[in-house]
Symmetry: D2
Subunit: 297 residues, 4 copies
């Protein structure tokens, strides 16, 4: 089918290629004039599509997505469909949907997993919205999704796609933290000769066999101690959103949060906590922690 | 090759079948006279094997394993090999190895993963001990291990097999907790129609694709809300040992411990904590928590 | 000075008594006609005060506070002051302040700690707003605050009072959790004869001496094992808000969150997590957790 | 009464002064010839005391304590008493007690809290052992303890004193972490002008009023942001022991452990965890974390 794609970065660009290989007619637009875009403006993109149109928005969440969706609300007609495939917060989706609805435009939110491997492996898709609308975009979803029985779900009403993706990423944080804790423990133990080889041995037949463990094998192929990796990690927002959503729902998420906090701590987030601890110990213990000393009190 | 197997329970019995299908001559013994045992005592088992003998111990850790290894130390000869395939603590291994070494008997510890699926899928094996001894038992390991490139590793010196298995199980705890946190969050959200279907959709092409997620699909096939499962879980010791080992090594393991504590809490482990909280709030807030009330202070 | 007090519940009522004992002329109003109110409506309350008026709002956060502040915005005049002494979220404060500012009305938010003990001991106060406005209400604050050098602070701009109170309550959660963890550990240990007596011994001269520990002594005076307390606790929102605020600021708060999650778990918040754990273990271990069984896999 | 004191460091030396001011006749010994010792060897110390003797051991836990107690077992007579006032693990106590019991020597373990303030404020004491023996040393305990009703407890049988001190220190860790989390959150918030002043305001009348908060006031008197304190803290072992003991008893201790892990992390304990996280993200996200970049995937 025919569709417009807004945002031709790494994700959007790869998705366009996969869609065209699948026989779809994609009109691509990106703000960047050096991109491989087909049209030079949103107006041209809308003009190039036959109504009823479907437009997939694949730009960073926040300001860029807000701007594009506002403009599409003015340019599109009743019966057209906007799909937000970026990483918007699920509460943004319900707002976007009701704004577009005023002009009769339908909205779907699509959480997209797969990273740089998606182009080859397919993208796991979680969609939020009305089934009626979902069915219209299904040919696109079917082409983007990975081979196999799974990889595509209508997760719930508007917001459900990004809610599901948020939870997916929270789980991903927890799994990576679990692998990290195991690796770090083995790295300091005299009982384990080669922690990376031991972890990699679990790729077949063990309970923890997983795609992440396959990636670990790749990652450690030439660097068994990961000495080349910085002990610092950013957080991209979605695990934070999940912990917040779960807090409001009354669900504890200690493993997900542990993963998130480990990253925030690596960025200095706990420095002031430690300053308080050190200051108090100096008060009752009579001395300040020295970095090369094992203090007792 | 020829080997004795002590312990013909679910794990040991399945392993004997897999080994015999692989062409090995296994002499099996179990304390239980109703088991499918080949001999009626440890003495008979030792007598039935050609020196140098290899004996695999597959009995519960703690007392049963202690008793069997002590007896084997008296019955076996220099050059024989004992493999402890149970769930012993890695510090027990070093003690067992040095006790057996006095009589010239070699020792390997083997962490075995695979559960009830191992019979069909093969057992992921992590072995601790000297490479010289490992090589002698390699034909057995090769038959037990799963197909594929991985699934068997000489993890380190004596103790390394059980240390690796302990870490493996700790990671398993963390992964299950991560999936659980995601599922529980979706169960309470109005944005997700069918949490089980959403999680299952990640089996293909997502970052969290894993054997555990495949098992989740099986588990929820006829019970999408898992209403039939009790909200209670035991802990089997190995994650606890991992957290303790990591504490001594100076490595934080918050995700692993979160999983463990969630299980201990489900068994009432936090009840006295909550009693203190409730008692203190009653002191400064002037009332005791009522179960159907949202208290404020 | 003269002031109106809206909300004559346990907190508001006690505060009025303390203020009157301090020589202030308080006009009290409450929705409840059976309360000890001086006037029967907000209109009467405003009419009873000499401009420039100060009105203290001491009603539950959320809807009740919203309603009262909206009405006050219509009833009061430029130069009047509204103090929100309830438990509003700090972002509500900035909204309220800008709404009232349109009519020239000033706003302060006041976090109030002290619970049922405040009437006797005084109320620790944290105030947010402009220093110019704070100085006008200072006589009231000085009367409400506890004796001693401390107990009153202008914490920051509008929102700062409730932000500070939120953090205060988060710390309170963490401290109670810490005491609870210690008590619970001693309750299960054969090394401690009387955990309550041991904790109480720390009231003098120890590092953990604190008002909460004094309350613990009271709480356990006639019930050393706290057997009469339910192992269940509600959460009142402020620790949750603190964890969320800290997440957004990039600051890890694992101890505060642990306290919060322990309470959420006591309300069933983790049940679905445990169902997943139990379901997965049943898949790879071959059996479902039985409550009276220590399972192994 | 008469007593020998072994170990005249900061703690032991201050205790001797307090005891002598209380009228006790203390014979002091230290390995260090430059110390203010009364005798030059353990033999001389034993000779200088009238039987039945009481000897207080105040040396570092582990090797030094082991050595002293072994020697005392050989030098002392039946009916003498050894008090271990150091930071030994509670399982060491039961071993020491049974070794000394062979020669008829009684044993008490005494957890001592108070740090550098103890000399002036008194030392909170937690004692483990038989009541019969405890009563004999009571005059010493009464002099060492702080004024006030509390500050001394016979916590349980041998080991109970150090178990109680271990739990006390675990609680102390949790409380300091709670204060640290609050301070750190306020340090990053635009709503709080002076986090230290806000925290200090809670010293009177608030729920979190405590000796630690009084120390915080001292600590921040000339450094409101604690900029002079390193964001690094050691751990002294006792919180770690408490978490381990609680794990074995089935009691979750997430707040205590959070405090401990924060310190271990500040020493690099989580570095390998973060390397795994960064390596995996690089695999599926296509790039390595850069320290000055907020990455998304």
């Amino acid at each position: 089918m025919q569709m417009g794609m807004i945002g031709l970065g790494r994700m959007g660009g790869n998705m366009v290629r996969r869609l065209r290989e699948g026989g779809h007619k994609i009109v691509g637009f990106d703000m960047n004039p050096d991109s491989d875009r087909d049209v030079a403006s949103l107006e041209e993109l809308v003009a190039a599509l036959q109504p009823p149109r479907t437009v997939w928005v694949m730009v960073p969440s926040g300001e860029p997505t807000e701007a594009v969706i506002t403009q599409l609300g003015n340019l599109l007609d009743a019966g057209d469909i906007v799909v937000d495939g970026g990483n918007s917060h699920y509460t943004d989706d319900t707002r976007h949907a009701s704004e577009l609805k005023r002009n009769g435009i339908d909205f779907l939110d699509a959480g997209v997993s797969g990273g740089v491997w998606g182009a080859e492996r397919g993208y796991a898709l979680m969609v939020g919205g009305e089934e009626r609308v979902y069915r219209k975009v299904l040919p696109i979803f079917e082409t983007l999704k990975p081979q196999g029985e799974h990889g595509l779900v209508l997760a719930g009403p508007v917001g459900g796609g990004h809610f599901a993706k948020m939870v997916h990423n929270g789980i991903e944080y927890g799994m990576m933290q679990a692998f990290g804790e195991g690796f770090a423990t083995m790295m300091r133990s005299e009982y384990i000769t080669d922690p990376a080889a031991t972890m990699t041995s679990w790729c077949d037949g063990s309970v923890v066999a997983s795609w992440l463990l396959d990636l670990f094998e790749n990652a450690t192929e030439h660097d068994h101690t990961l000495a080349g990796m910085p002990p610092v990690a950013n957080e991209s927002g979605e695990a934070r959103w999940m912990v917040e959503a779960a807090l409001e729902l009354g669900v504890p998420t200690p493993a997900t949060a542990a993963a998130l906090w480990q990253r925030q701590t690596s960025r200095g987030g706990a420095d002031d906590i430690l300053r308080v601890v050190t200051a108090l110990r100096a008060q009752f213990g009579g001395h300040v922690t020295k970095v090369d000393e094992i203090a007792t009190h």
